[in-house]
């Protein structure tokens, strides 16, 4: 055991470095030279660009209301402004941890290493014998599994056998034998029609290892369908957005995503996307100088890629008119903006700013009447607040108290 364990891992390492074509680059894409995708993905510059592109939307994406497994009531706390800001900063840190990208990995090697060929052991049994290392410190990834074939060959296990042995000795509740039906059509398409892309990809992460060929196939399938349908909003601010953008840049397929960013008026993201494409494909024709501004980069891209003109209408509209897509659409459908503009009364938090206005508790009546703020009994002093004396049950008592005070003064 001690002798051949390093040997096997050394063999595996060599095999992973000698790789000719990547699973992440499609045959249809223009380049045919070799790129080490795994290395490129963890490159610092690429990671920085991807992180910048993944916008962190705490309210609506990362920490949107989700169903939890245990029923628990919400907590309430009293906070000052500083404390609240500190808590929010902590949540942003947490969100950054949540949005750690799923690693982009090449599929595992299918080939096996033959360790020994003992012809004298031929026909020792009708079955294969599988030997598994179940020592405490062996992890599921580096566990030694070897197979003795009936013809006397001793070889390392292929990935499928390796997984089966892992499952036999270290069962995991999230990895049953058969893959869920969701990972194949028509159920997959049903889920994607309901914009459940994040759910599918999260479950795939839960079920597969990132270097599993099935995972790579499934995630690429989902990425392609997102790009086809243009539903980029379903995957922004998730941990899959980095790999998704990387996959698009790697395959020279960014115009639709550029158009999406342009439609939202996010010019810096457009420029970052072009920079990413350049970082992933250094041989790309578009040139980016060191001191170029965001707008110049994007304009250069549009100028040099006339073939994408049909795909990037929103981006061009934004650059020429400075209006984002929703404004254009609001102009088209005039009533829509009014409908969106109307605020749900119950949702609005009442503050000292809006209490006198239309959003306050009095609503539209506040135009007619002036709103006065009165403190309740327990709150003490009356600094700055107007007091309403009439119509209060305690008024009589208060006046009596005041009278006694006056008498004492006298």
């Amino acid at each position: 055991m001690f002798k051949f364990k390093p040997k096997i891992s050394a063999l595996a390492r060599i095999s992973s470095e000698i790789r000719f074509s990547s699973q992440w680059i499609k045959a249809s894409s223009s380049s045919n030279e070799d790129i080490n995708v795994e290395k490129l993905f963890v490159d610092q510059e690429v990671q920085k660009l991807l992180t910048d592109l993944t916008e962190i939307d705490l309210e609506h994406k990362v920490f949107r209301p989700r169903r939890t497994s245990i029923q628990q009531r919400s907590h309430f706390a009293l906070m000052t402004e500083e404390r609240l800001e500190k808590t929010r900063e902590r949540m942003r840190e947490e969100a950054r941890r949540f949005l750690q990208f799923v690693p982009v990995k090449e599929p595992r090697e299918e080939s096996v290493q033959i360790l020994a060929q003992d012809s004298e052991l031929k026909d020792f049994d009708t079955s294969k014998f599988v030997f598994t290392d179940i020592t405490f410190d062996a992890t599921d990834q580096d566990r030694t599994v070897v197979v003795r074939e009936p013809d006397g060959t001793l070889r390392t296990a292929n990935p499928e056998e390796h997984d089966r042995m892992n499952r036999t000795y270290y069962q995991k509740p999230n990895r049953p034998v058969n893959a869920p039906a969701l990972f194949a059509d028509p159920y997959l398409q049903n889920a994607l029609d309901k914009n459940e892309h994040e759910f599918v990809l999260d479950w795939a992460c839960w079920f597969y290892e990132p270097d599993d060929p099935s995972y790579i196939r499934l995630s690429q399938l989902v990425f392609d369908r997102i790009n086809e349908s243009g539903k980029f909003h379903v995957i922004t601010s998730t941990r899959h957005f980095g790999p998704f953008t990387f996959f698009l840049a790697l395959n020279d397929n960014i115009p639709k995503l550029l158009n999406y960013f342009g439609g939202l008026g996010r010019l810096a993201d457009c420029a970052n996307l072009v920079r990413l494409q350049k970082a992933v494909r250094p041989d790309w024709r578009v040139t980016i100088a060191q001191g170029d501004s965001d707008e110049k980069i994007v304009k250069d891209f549009i100028k040099q890629n006339a073939r994408f003109r049909d795909h990037i209408g929103d981006l061009q509209a934004f650059i020429s008119t400075g209006k984002v897509k929703s404004e254009h659409e609001a102009e088209k459908h005039f009533g829509l903006r009014e409908r969106l503009g109307r605020v749900d009364k119950r949702r609005v938090r009442i503050t000292s700013g809006n209490i006198r206005g239309n959003e306050g508790p009095l609503g539209e009546l506040s135009d007619e009447y002036s709103v006065k703020v009165v403190k309740s009994e327990g709150t003490g002093g009356s600094d700055g607040a107007e007091k309403k004396e009439e119509g209060r049950g305690r008024g009589r008592w208060r006046s009596r108290d005041q009278n006694t005070d006056d008498k004492k003064k006298e």
């Binding site: 939890t68 029923q71 919400s74 949540m91």
Partner: protein
């Protein structure tokens, strides 16, 4: 008409008590209650006048006899004081079956009423009693109508009072709660003379609709904060609960919560749990003493922040002070740093008792049965997994046998490899004889 005169027995000399008194006088001896007896409450237990002539009326027999002056008009110069009236066959039959018919129609002592069958959700606390049932909206008062209100009767009991004239006087007393399910509710006690349960409840409804109060509800479904409230020997610990939790509390409190419109709450009642008036009073007092988030923010001069588990505890401002200055970290006192759940409840917490194990948990037979079931502990999850993976269409013997048959066929034809190896017995082919 034939005369029956010779058949009459005359006993003119017999004069006794019963012949000297009239019927009503005789009944009075049994049924009357003296003045002093009335004071002692004997009026309620007096004997009723029994209708003795109900089934026997003079002259009504198969042979209808007419007694002049009794059941027939008296005529002068009539020799026959008693005659037999002539009847047809049908009349005779009717008179024969008359008593029987009356007896059949009359119910035999027990109260047998054909009540409408109530839906299980509409039934009250017990049997066919009105207590706990939905009683509808109270009648309108001064042009204010209570159409969207629902009324529940929580308790009907007999109370008694000692007077110097009548002795112990009993009264029916009904505790009634009414509410519109959106924060408005009222409760009251209605009273009525003894046995007038319905009257008491109706009186209570009327009173309750005049004593309406308003309870602020958090998100329109639960209370703002955990509270403690007490009345007499009843102590109430109410706790805020998440959406979808439901009402986990005393049955009477469930009805009160339904009337007010509370949907999620947990309440522990300690002390007397049978004094429903005190229970209601304590609970309502606790509800009314609540503080809304806006009031809390105003009082403390701080933001009230909600951290919901469904949002991974992302802080969201619920209320911020309007007229008070917002405090900063430097001006904060030690009291302001207290956990908000410890603010209320006066430092009291309900007694938590672990659930007692059933008596049989340590019996030998039970332990033995558990041990016998032990090998099959994973069978259910396996079943669920196989059905979920569409291996077996249904968990019936036939379906499973068909599946096994199919697998056997696939293995014999070599489509699927035979599971062989360590721990699996070898397949020994049958010898051909």
């Amino acid at each position: 008409m034939a005369s029956l005169l010779p058949l009459i027995q005359t006993r003119g000399n017999t004069v006794n008590f019963f012949m000297r008194r009239s019927g009503p006088e005789l009944w009075k001896t049994l049924t009357s209650v003296s003045k002093s007896g009335q004071k002692k409450g004997r009026r309620n237990t007096r004997q009723p006048v029994r209708p003795l002539n109900r089934f026997y009326r003079i002259g009504s027999s198969p042979m209808k006899v007419e007694f002049a002056g009794l059941n027939a008009p008296m005529r002068l110069n009539d020799e026959n004081l008693m005659t037999i009236a002539e009847q047809t066959e049908d009349e005779i039959r009717d008179s024969m079956g008359g008593t029987k018919k009356i007896l059949e129609e009359k119910d035999t002592g027990k109260k047998k009423r054909n009540r409408e069958k109530l839906h299980p959700m509409e039934r009250g606390f017990s049997g066919t009693q009105l207590v706990g049932q939905k009683l509808g909206a109270p009648p309108p008062v001064d042009g204010v109508n209570f159409d969207d209100f629902e009324t529940y009767c929580l308790e009907v009991k007999r109370t008694s009072n000692m007077t110097n004239v009548f002795g112990r006087v009993h009264t029916m007393s009904a505790l009634v709660v009414t509410g519109n399910g959106r924060g408005l509710a009222g409760y009251a006690v209605g009273k009525a003379p003894i046995h007038r349960t319905t009257t008491a409840i109706i009186n209570g409804m009327g009173m309750a609709s005049r004593k309406i109060f308003h309870v602020e509800l958090h998100e329109g479904r639960t209370i703002y904060q955990d509270f403690y409230a007490e009345c007499r020997n009843t102590r109430v610990f109410a706790q805020r609960r998440p959406r979808g939790f439901g009402l986990t509390c005393h049955p009477r409190l469930i009805k009160i919560c339904e009337a007010i419109g509370i949907k999620d709450i947990y309440v522990k009642v300690e002390g007397s749990t049978k004094n429903y008036l005190a229970l209601t009073h304590a609970f309502v007092t606790g509800l009314l003493n609540q503080e809304t988030h806006q009031q809390l923010a105003e009082r403390k001069g701080l933001h009230v922040v909600e951290m919901s588990p469904s949002r991974h505890f992302l802080p969201q401002i619920v209320a911020s002070p309007i007229s008070t200055e917002l405090k900063t970290e430097e001006t904060l006192e030690a009291l302001d740093r207290l956990n908000l759940d410890d603010f209320y409840g006066e430092g009291r917490y309900p007694l938590r008792k672990p659930k007692a194990l059933p008596f049989f948990s340590n019996l030998e037979g039970h332990l033995d049965a558990r041990w016998r079931k032990h090998p099959f502990r994973n069978q259910e999850s396996t079943m669920i997994r196989l059905i979920a993976d569409n291996m077996v269409p249904r968990w019936t013997r036939d379906a499973r046998a068909a599946w096994a048959e199919q697998r056997n066929e696939r293995m014999t034809t070599g489509v699927e490899p035979m599971p062989l190896g360590i721990g699996l017995s070898h397949v020994v082919p049958k010898k051909d004889d």
